[in-house]
């Protein structure tokens, strides 16, 4: 696949998870043959992921202009909405990860081939039930612990 030169939808994007952590947190480490990723099926919403910095504000009286200072960075979390299939191999790993303190490796592949590797902790795994016409779903939050490793499409 070739890198995008125009905007695309994310239709066709996939997310896979691995209990294995890379030897190095870079493209080579995440892409090593020893890293086995299992696709998480039935994802209907990926939410968002990326960096947010804490902004400190200081307002000196003489200028009366708010000064902003960039502080700590937080790579936030990815909130997934998933159609619940308890036997789906990827969902089995996610459910186990939610009960574990371990970090996991996630691999998101965009339709044009761009890949984002994420170091995550599965922070939540909530069953969404609702009413008669609702689909049985699971809400999963992946807390992202490091800067995503982005591998551009070829």
């Amino acid at each position: 696949m070739t890198a995008r030169t125009s905007v695309i939808s994310i239709s066709g994007a996939t997310l896979a998870i691995s209990a294995t952590l890379p030897a190095t947190y870079d493209a080579a480490g995440y892409g090593a043959t020893t890293m086995t990723y299992t696709a998480i099926g039935e994802i209907e919403n990926y939410g968002s992921h990326g960096v947010k910095a804490n902004i400190s504000e200081f307002t000196p009286v003489d200028t009366a202009v708010v000064a902003k200072i960039k502080g700590a960075k937080n790579y936030g979390s990815m909130s997934l909405t998933i159609g619940s299939i308890p036997t789906n191999a990827g969902q089995v790993i996610v459910a186990a990860a939610a009960e574990s303190n371990n970090h996991y490796s996630a691999k998101m592949t965009y339709p044009d081939g761009e890949v984002h590797y994420l170091d995550v902790i599965v922070a939540s795994h909530e069953y969404q039930d609702g009413s008669v016409n609702d689909t049985s779903k699971v809400a999963v939050e992946l807390a992202i612990c490091k800067k995503p490793v982005v591998v551009a499409a070829a």
């Binding site: 066709g12 039935e42 994802i43 209907e44 159609g83």
Partner: protein, 133 residues
């Protein structure tokens, strides 16, 4: 289409309903003009699939709004048939005529309709039928 097939199979195999409307006059689609009354037509109003981002899952949950239209020879007969529909199309889960039915839920009734020539007493009831495709 499968929602119609599921509904038609259940209706045509419901003893209480077929005692009033023979299975041969419970049709998928619109009841042809000139059909002896009472008759029932089953049509699809709308349908949608549950979409995922990947779009590669082998099975999909499909939801169809299916309309069951009663064509009767009298108003009491119209209401009798309407009253039989809940038991003929109950909340259902399992294999129905080869289809993996997820659920059937009623979704409201239409108004009383009347045609003077020919005389037809008509009313519809909608159902949401979900199945795995």
């Amino acid at each position: 289409m499968s929602g119609v097939a599921i509904a038609r199979y259940l209706l045509a195999h419901h003893a209480g309903l077929t005692a009033v409307v023979p299975a041969a006059r419970i049709v998928a689609g619109v009841v042809p003009p000139g059909t002896v009354l009472p008759a029932i037509g089953i049509t699809q109003v709308s349908g949608s699939e549950r979409n995922t981002v990947a779009g590669t899952e082998p099975k999909k949950l499909v939801a169809e709004r299916v309309q069951v239209t009663i064509l009767a020879a009298s108003y009491p007969q119209q209401k009798e048939l309407l009253g039989l529909l809940p038991s003929a199309l109950p909340a259902t889960r399992g294999t129905i005529n080869g289809f993996a039915c997820d659920s059937i839920t009623p979704e409201g009734e239409g108004p009383d309709l009347y045609s003077a020539d020919p005389v037809i007493y008509e009313q519809s009831k909608d159902f949401f039928i979900r199945y795995i495709r």
